[in-house]
Amino acid sequence: MKPGRFTYHAPRSLDAALALLAEHGDEAKVLAGGQSLVPMLNFRLAQVDHLVDINRIGPEFAGPKVTGDTVTIPALVRQRVLERSAEVAAVLPVFAAALPQVAHPQIRNRGTVCGSCAHADPAAELPTVMSVVDSTFRIASARGTREVDAADFFQFHLTTALEPDELLTEVAIRVPQPGTRMAFKEFATRRGDFALVAVAASATVDESGTVTACRIAAAGVAPTPQRLHDAEAVVIGSTVDDEAIAAAEAAASAAVDPTGDIHATAEHRRRLTAVLVRRALAEIKGDQS
């Protein structure tokens, strides 16, 4: 389990990194935390000619920033750093809820938030959370920069909108409106495992207690995080009462079409989706069931 031969590059700036990606394109891969890429290299499931290690492109990429109504998470923010950021937790506590369920501290100490998004494992927690917050993926290449939202960023199993010469420089998240509550629920085989199914939910409630906006997404049921629009629709306009929760549960169950694998049958994943939607909404409502 030793990686195949490659040339290692450690550019000292974003521009230098982009230049290397422009030069080597298809033959290159970005190395961020290495917690998904290096196992694949060790198994020789991935072979690359050029490895562009972005870990030295600059300290400005290492910490999350909260400015005005935006939280930005640059490319080198480790999962563990985001998890423990009090500043982020104050406005987006959902990360502190979801991140402890991503692997273990030893992995999160290296693994980056952007790397998890770029890797786009369908059972990963962070892409699912990104699908319910108001997130923008900022992408750079020697050709210029562009922005895409979560729905466009996650395209397929392990596939994103990123072109081979592009780098995800940061994810920007709009601070949710007042009255927004979020929940993250997951069922995994062991502590720290990828989710069999995970559900992230967000609901914004007005003064009367009525939901004005809602987003629900599930991991582990489709090639990308799946937004559960029908379930969202029954929650919007409700007070997240038992009836709405039951309707959302049914809608979620109807909306997903998971495939079975060695860890769970399709039917089990469907059931888990419904159960976790119920539990997420109950938490949002304030029940701890």
């Binding site: 389990m1 196992p39 720290g192 049958t265 059931r271």
Partner: protein, 814 residues
């Protein structure tokens, strides 16, 4: 000093292991060793048309590449460890030339300057295969018209073995009650944290080859090598390194890689090293467990067993590495119960998956799973307490030695040497606080939670023959060197055998050093497997210690001019009745009797060379026993199972070091929890492994293993002077059964929740196997859904993974 046996002495091994100074195989300094890597078959069953190695030979750093056909001198079948005259043996070659039979079977070997380069070269070898149909389950192997796992075999059945006592057929037919069940235990692996490794160096000057091998059985490995290489035993030295990172069974087997690596060292005249990586380990280290039991029990209205009949399909894998596992299974079925009529029928099948052999538990967990699941079904059927049903059937403490009526795998009639099963069960239930747990369970049910209790009792044949040996020597520094043939993998041999020797000799432990697992140091041995070492090497050391004590006393008495009976040991000195003035040191004794003076006659009466060897051959196996009790909570919505409480009652006879025994039991228990709830090396229908990484094959971490409460009983074995039995596997064996019983119990409340209370379950006594029948309740006007509720969900599989729980709940009509 005496009294070291039975004391929880801290381990001598620990200081080096805690400071990074352990010496595992890959840590050994073997200057300029070349790295070996194996190319392995990507197909479960295929014909090899050709193998092109030209490009690989040209790759940077490559020293040699060999195919099976390039190594014809060692192209000889590896013998199964445990044979049977009826066994249809299929040859397992170190590297096959014509046909591969499982994904992971070696097809070529690369020798290169380092492992990175060796793996590069593997990618350049071009093998042309014709893929053949594969068998990936015993059901597929036995299906009518099934393809053959080996093209040149005439069937997929390796052997059929029957054990009988009484007339089970007649007893079942006349029994007032009769229940059957079908239970499947999935494969599981050993997964020692250190995988396998072999290194070898050839000394042209002496013609000797030294082999470092992570094996649990160095002497067995040497024996096999000497046969295959046609070399004298003494020209092959197999050393298990001082530290081996776990064994658990797979390292007790003998593999093709162990033949190839030293041979390549001899061909090249270079030191070579192969360190199995985890990817290889997943597809080439032997596994175990895969069995299907169709079991039927007959019992009277009090729940007393009248007969058991068990039809067992055993997944032997691609080759038969030995029949130890299925034969242990058949003799473990009756367990601690008095059963007048027993009939087991074993079908060991060839499949196209990694061969199987022992993994911690070795055939016993499956038998206990089948039997103990049935004990619960009997209780359910008669509406009795599961503990009570067991009580009524247990062999009583005054019935030993107890002859079960069938044969054990060591060839002797299955005869339990000692034990106290009722005390074990009661002690375990007391520790659990069974009555209170039942109340709490019922309370939880009333609150809509799904809590269940599971019990499993077992008997474990251990301490097997043929023999094990030890050599004790007073060395020239005045220390006593204990040399064991057995090789340890973390059991603390350096500590335990020093304890035994110290006790037997009557000296301080500090004077004793223990070395293990080196065929160059002691000629005969068998190995660490089947929880046998304490009960075989233990007595050997103990007996040798007594002999050495006599030798020391005798020599000291001559030097001090007294009778041997007057000698007492004090520190490193032998004294005349404790008088420090009249004493000699052990070193002085060594100087006189061992070193001597060149050409000078020994002083009168002094016998030369203070060294003794002792081999202990038990007359038959000893039997440890135990009871496990679990309380679990199941979440039927997710299929998740949480263990709330777990108690283990354990009887392994007399104990040398209680804390080390606890460690063995609790460690084995964690493995059992893996088998009960998590571990499954799934293969697809084409024989492709689907769980070949630790993301998919889920080993338990500290977060999944609950705390265990231990309860010990010590009924000494009469079969050896220490009264010891084996302790390495008892934690594992009944865990899947106890957990499955608890989960099924937890889900019993679902039947009640469904709104239809059908009272006691099917009394017809003719339930089809598998427990999947769903009868329509007559006269129920309540509509389709509730009307199909017949009984609570059935847990027929191990491991009880969340999706199996979910499926069981769904299939029960909820």
């Amino acid at each position: 000093m005496t009294g070291t046996i039975g004391a929880s002495v801290k381990r001598r091994e620990d200081d080096r292991l805690l400071t990074g100074r352990g010496r595992y195989l890959d840590d050994l300094d073997l200057p300029d060793a070349l790295a070996i890597a194996f190319l392995r078959s990507p197909h479960a069953h295929a014909k090899i048309n050709s193998i092109d190695v030209d490009e690989a030979l040209q790759a940077p750093g490559v020293v040699a590449v060999y195919r099976g056909s390039d190594l014809m001198a060692i192209h000889k079948p590896l013998a199964p460890k445990v044979q049977h005259p009826m066994l249809k043996e299929l040859p397992r070659y170190p590297i096959p030339c014509e046909e591969v039979h499982y994904v992971g079977e070696p097809v070529a070997v690369v020798v290169a300057e380092n492992r990175y380069l060796a793996e590069d070269a593997l990618e350049l070898i071009d093998v042309d295969y014709d893929v053949l149909p594969a068998i990936s389950s015993t059901a597929a192997a036995l299906a009518e018209g099934a393809p053959l796992a080996h093209s040149d075999a005439d069937s997929n059945v390796a052997v059929t073995l029957t054990q009988r006592c009484g007339d089970a057929e007649a007893a079942l037919n006349s029994a007032p009650n009769r229940l059957s069940g079908e239970f499947r235990v999935m494969r599981g692996g050993g997964h020692s944290m250190e995988a396998r490794a072999v290194a070898a160096r050839f000394e042209p000057a002496t013609g000797q080859v030294t082999v470092w091998d992570t094996t649990q059985s160095p002497h067995y490995a040497r024996q096999q090598l000497s046969m295959i290489y046609e070399m004298a035993e003494d020209d092959i030295r197999v050393i298990a390194p001082p530290d081996v990172g776990g064994g658990f069974g797979p390292k007790a087997q003998f593999y093709g890689e162990e033949v190839v690596v030293p041979w390549v060292a001899m061909l090249l005249g270079r030191t070579v090293k192969w360190v199995e990586d985890r990817q290889e380990n997943f597809v080439s280290a032997m596994m175990e467990r895969g069995q299907t039991h169709r079991i039927e029990v007959g019992f009277d209205d009090d729940g007393k067993l009248l007969a058991v009949r068990d039809h067992i399909e055993h997944d032997q894998g691609a080759y038969c590495a030995g029949l130890q596992v299925p034969s242990i299974t058949t003799s473990t079925v009756p367990g601690p119960y008095k059963i007048p009529n027993i009939h087991t029928e074993l079908y060991a099948c060839y499949t196209n998956m990694v061969p199987t052999s022992s993994v911690r538990g070795a055939g016993r967990p499956q038998a206990v799973f089948a039997m103990e699941r049935m004990m619960d079904r009997i209780a359910e059927h008669l509406d009795l307490d599961p503990a009570e049903v067991r009580r009524r059937n247990l062999i009583q403490a005054d019935e030993f030695p107890y002859r079960v009526g069938i044969t054990f795998r060591d060839g002797s009639p299955l005869t339990y040497d000692s034990g106290d099963f009722p005390a074990l069960l009661e002690g375990t239930l007391d520790k659990l606080d069974y009555e209170r747990c039942k109340r709490e369970r019922d309370q939880a049910r009333a609150e809509g939670r799904h809590v269940g209790i599971g019990i499993a009792v077992y008997v474990e044949g251990c301490g097997l023959g043929p023999y094990e040996g030890a050599k004790l020597r007073l060395d020239n520094r005045g220390k006593i060197l204990v040399t064991l043939a057995a090789a340890g993998q973390g059991q603390g041999y350096e500590t335990v055998y020093a304890q035994i020797a110290a006790e037997a000799i009557g000296v301080d432990m500090d004077l004793i050093e223990v070395v293990t697992g080196d065929t160059g140091r002691i000629p005969f041995g068998q190995g660490t497997f089947a929880s046998r070492i304490t009960a075989t090497a233990g007595p050997a050391v103990y007996n040798a210690g007594h002999q050495l004590r006599e030798r020391l006393k005798d020599t000291a008495a001559h030097l001090l001019g007294c009778a041997p009976g007057d000698i007492e040991f004090d520190g490193d000195r032998a004294t005349f009745a404790g008088d420090a003035e009249k004493s000699v040191s052990l070193q002085e004794i060594a100087r006189v009797a061992n070193i001597g003076k060149h050409g000078i006659t020994l002083p009168k009466g002094i016998k030369p060379a203070i060294e003794v060897s002792s081999y202990f051959a038990p007359e038959r196996a000893a039997y440890a026993s135990g009871a496990h009790a679990a309380v679990v909570e199941v979440d039927p919505d997710t299929g998740g199972v949480k263990v709330l409480k777990y108690v283990i009652g354990h009887d392994c006879g007399n104990v040398i070091n209680p804390r080390l025994v606890d460690g063995q039991v609790i460690g084995g228990f964690a493995h059992g929890i893996g088998n009960a709830l998590y571990e499954e090396p799934v293969y697809d229908a084409e024989g492709q492994p689907q769980a070949a990484s630790y993301l998919d094959y889920t080993l338990v971490s500290a977060a999944e293993v609950p705390r265990v409460e231990l309860f010990h009983l010590h009924t000494p074995s009469p079969l050896n002077p220490l009264g010891a039995k084996g302790a390495g596997e008892g934690g594992t064996i009944p865990a899947p059964a106890a957990i499955a019983n608890a989960v099924e119990d937890a889900l019993r409340s679902i039947r009640h929740r469904g709104g239809v209370e059908d009272g006691r379950p099917d009394h017809s006594g003719k339930q089809p196997p598998g427990g999947r029948a769903r009868h329509r309740l007559e006269g129920d006007a309540d509509g389709a859904r509730s009307a199909t509720i017949q009984r609570s969900p059935r847990i027929d599989y191990a491991p009880v993974t969340p999706h199996r729980v979910a499926t069981a709940v769904r299939e029960a009509g909820h």
